[in-house]
Symmetry: C2
Subunit: 250 residues, 2 copies
């Protein structure tokens, strides 16, 4: 939803069909095989709805399933890791970049590989921060507990002399304040959601697929678990009410 | 796994076939419909393996799916809520009982209903503590963070004059120290895992199904996601190595 929010801000005339696999989340603690299987299921639902671009708006799914989806689908498929890695490379001056994400994202090595591919001189320090996801879901994004969790995870990161830290999980922007406070002023946070929305805009422009600026589009929100729970939590991520949410099975 | 541990301690000659639906957990944040669907899937796997008793070793699944499973299966089905509720009723002196669990367990009202059914004079105070599950999974069971989370969730509980608190989630025994410290000496913790193992022993005795005390049994561990990850986390819950873990699909 943090990605959806950025895309809506940047591309207000594009119609978004969002699918949240709420019956099976979180993906961040699950294996590559399982995440690929679920990502395929999600893609098959969205492909039935005349989608022009598929955005894999989850770092773990991008890390594990992007190649499989690109092989199998005949529309452009964008992940969030490539844009996040590019943004970090552009941003760093001292060539010390940190990446935080789920266990899956960090263990996949996707950020490390892409960043080193773009700029082999950059040192990448990566660390999973699993509790940030449930903290964001619980709405504990400010206060003593998230501050202490951020310190617990990131205190050793402060010794590496980073000037750039990638928020390599779409939940983490909700905890950006606590993370920024822990890392201190000298460290810029790169939001993979923000970077991904810019990549979507570039792709639409390049391929001449941008929607015409007419009426505001009617977005669709689909979930695999209870629509009511999602409507409540989703609004927190999106910063406004969602409208009707539909249940889908797959 | 906390329930498995208690059953193994109490009934060392019973062979346990454990299934962890690791590809879809946590259940505690999911809806009744989804939990029932997954519980049916789990039961169908276990029923293929000549099971004599099915223990639903999860409070959320017990709260939502026990009736459905009892209707559909022809073996005894035991949950963890009934035993936990009975133990709390036996334990309380001042008739003020607290229950903590997942959002699903607390919202289902199962503990509240069973306790009041057994003893209508008991006042029940129930509260979801969602972050206890990821804390236990992450292994943060002691130290500043779990202590502060326990205080955050339970500080208002200290004003209700409880003498008994039910750990209504099978993850919570791992955080028993922090929970006990927050609640103070006057509050007894009831472990639904411990109570459930006693209920299993009673049932086996009543029905003449107790295993003979011969060789130690070879237990089976099945999971729906990566066996290697589970072997690591499961050992933390069980307090010893698991042996081989098998992947199952359903």
């Amino acid at each position: 939803m943090t990605v959806v929010r950025r895309i809506m801000e940047r591309l207000p005339y594009e119609r978004i069909i969002y699918l949240g696999d709420t019956a099976r989340v979180p993906y961040g603690t699950k294996s590559e095989e399982t995440v690929i299987r679920y990502a395929r299921g999600c893609a098959s639902v969205l492909m039935k709805r005349s989608t022009k671009v598929l955005v894999v708006a989850c770092n773990t799914a991008s890390a594990y399933a992007l190649d499989a989806l690109r092989d199998e689908l005949d529309i452009p498929v964008l992940g969030v890791i490539d844009p996040g890695a590019h943004a970090a490379v552009q941003r760093t001056v001292n060539r010390h970049v940190g990446v935080i994400g789920t266990v899956g994202t960090v263990e996949s090595g996707a950020y490390q590989r892409i960043i080193r591919g773009l700029a082999p001189d950059i040192q990448v320090f990566a660390k999973p921060c699993p509790l940030f996801v449930p903290l964001a879901e619980e709405g504990w994004t400010d206060g003593q507990v998230p501050r202490m969790v951020a310190r617990e995870y990131l205190q050793d990161f402060r010794e590496y002399g980073l000037d750039t830290l990638v928020l390599g999980c779409t939940h983490y922007p909700l905890l950006a304040c606590c993370i920024a406070e822990t890392m201190g002023d000298g460290v810029a946070l790169v939001d993979s959601a923000e970077a991904a929305s810019a990549a979507v805009a570039d792709l639409l422009t390049q391929q001449g697929m941008t929607a015409r600026a007419t009426a505001r589009p009617r977005h669709e929100f689909l979930v695999s678990d209870s629509p009511t729970t999602f409507a409540r939590i989703g609004a927190r991520f999106l910063g406004r009410e969602l409208g009707p949410v539909e249940w889908v099975d797959f």
